[in-house]
Amino acid sequence: MSKGDLPKLLSALKEFGEVHGPVRYGKFHSFRRVDSADEMDLSYTRTMIPPKKYFVRPREEILRVNLRRGYELLREEPRNIVLFGLHACDINAIKVLDSIYMDEHPDPYYASRRERTLIVGISCLPDDECFCRSMGTDYAYDGFDLFLHDIGESYILRVASERGESLLEGADFLKKPEREDFMRLAEFERRRASMFKKELISSHLPDVADSLHDSDAWNEYVSRCLACGSCNLVCPTCRCYDVFERVDLSLENGVRERRWDSCFLRSHALVAGGLNFRPTRFDRFVHRYNCKSGINVETGLPYCVGCGRCTVFCPAGIDHVEVLNSVWGVVR
């Protein structure tokens, strides 16, 4: 399809639900509701907060409690959403979240939002901090409904679900791609592949992270780390949450809410009686890197998708790739 037909595609997608896409907001980008194509900046590199915010909210009420009657599930008005313009790394990250939140014990809040979300991917070009290629997450094989491959003046539209296909029924702006289009696609992918500057030696990452967890190489970074948890909040696969309960002033009704949590906070591994399984910043630092260096067994995908957010938004300037390469012995 021609890039000029983007508004037509959006109106077809609006048949499904509200469209949310990458919008420039101050210095950074953010997924927000959009009404027209020109509100979006489709050449963005990464948003600060990943799309996980649509499925597990930064802070949300999950149960209502009445001090006499007990708990009930808080239901929200079902709402269809089109997430437009996700990059391959974020699509792969959602696949990891799906495997956790929709496993044998599906999370009712996540599952219902996920089912009501249509995902439209878009191809991207890396900046200096992207290392999805090292992680093998620079391409999305599935986990989306539609994907737009940029080939210059137009897109090649990849359809990956019946839901996506049915929305495009009768779309007269779509043309069958021609041989030249595929050659442009190949050219784009070649150019993209050559643009990655960062490389994480990821071939034996789980073993390396595990076996070198006592290494002194961590110390340099641990001493700089502010343990603020920013990296957790901006990470598209970090899914830890904490749970709180609040009662209103009448002491009759309350809510149970959950919030994104961070394994950098002291409370993360604290148990009753004050015992802490990860008492030091070193423990917590290495824990996060270990967690991110694992492979999700259900999807076969790494827990880190190489989006670079944790590096870009780290107030102490700690570089995820540099830390692991350094512990591996590649850097220094």
Binding site: L63, V65, R69, D242, D261, V271, F277, G294
Partner: protein, 294 residues
């Protein structure tokens, strides 16, 4: 959707009875208000529930009873945090919320035909009591049953009648007790039963129990404070217990109970494990390959 909700919404349960166990621990008997749910509620020794005090919050408590024994669900709760303090303020007839049961359990069926060695330290007796009851209720299916229980003092001993019963009469198992503080009761018990009682930490009991232990044909189950595991596992190792026949149950912070909230994650990159759904019961063999488990 119904099934998912059941795991996330605490079910109301009435406190039938509260028994004072120690100055900080009480035994709560509970029954679900929904009779059908109460009838269908099944659990195994080693599993846990998420217990909610309305308006205060939720906490993880292991089930300390075997379902082979008729009667209500029992939870032994130490008053140690916000929720457990609130729970201790409740009275008989009050209603709390329960979710569960969660987690795996001690392999009581696989253990049939073998001797059973229970090793508990302090509050660790709570989850092991379910195993003990289960085994005693199917006594003919198991060999020798030995309990090594390390406590601080008589006052802090949990389920006193049950663990001390073998000193009075044949109870189907042998009980060994170690105590740490000066304690007239245990000093007297030790004077009368020097072969079963000793002062010190729980590992001092191995010497007393050794002549009854057959490491080749024994399943050992261990629960206690984190510091205890390393020492107990070393003793078991030294005696040639197979790592596949030694089981521990672990404690971690948990919010969800079903592998979502991430607090109970243990292990490194090669072995990311959720204590709530992959455990809380692990074999020593598992523990050896999950970094940070012990």
């Amino acid at each position: 959707m119904e099934l998912q909700e059941e795991q996330f919404v605490p079910k109301p349960a009435e406190i039938l009875d509260i028994r004072e166990m120690t100055s900080i621990e009480r035994l709560f008997s509970l029954r679900f208000l929904d009779e059908e749910y109460e009838r269908s509620f099944r659990y195994m020794p080693g599993q846990f529930v998420q217990l909610s005090v309305y308006g205060v919050g939720e906490t993880t408590i292991s089930i300390c009873r075997s379902q082979t024994r008729p009667g209500p669900l029992e939870l032994l709760v130490r008053r140690v945090g916000r929720v457990t303090n609130a729970l201790h303020r409740l009275r008989r007839g009050d209603v709390v919320g329960l979710r569960g049961p969660f987690g795996n359990w001690f392999p009581v069926e696989e253990m049939e035909g073998s001797d059973v060695l229970l090793i508990a330290g302090g509050l660790g007796m709570a989850p092991l009591r379910g195993v003990l009851q289960y085994v005693l209720d199917r006594r003919e299916r198991y060999g020798d049953v030995n309990l090594l229980y390390g406590v601080k003092s008589y006052e802090e001993t949990l389920f006193r009648e049950e663990v001390l019963e073998p000193f009075e009469r044949d109870s189907g198992f042998r009980s060994f007790i170690s105590f740490e503080k000066d304690d007239p009761f245990y000093e007297e018990l030790m004077r009368r039963n020097p072969e079963r009682v000793r002062k010190g930490v729980v590992t001092v009991l191995f010497e007393l129990a050794d002549r009854y232990l057959d490491p080749k044909n024994t399943y050992a189950v261990v629960c206690g404070p984190p510091v205890m595991y390393r020492f107990v596992l070393r003793e078991l190792d030294r005696r040639g217990f197979s790592p596949r026949k030694v089981y521990v149950t672990l404690e971690r912070r948990m919010r969800c109970g079903v592998g979502k909230c991430g607090h109970c994650i243990i292990g490194g990159a090669t072995s990311i494990t959720y204590v709530c759904k992959d455990g809380p019961v692990f074999s020593y063999f598992d523990v050896l390959s999950i970094r940070g488990a012990i």
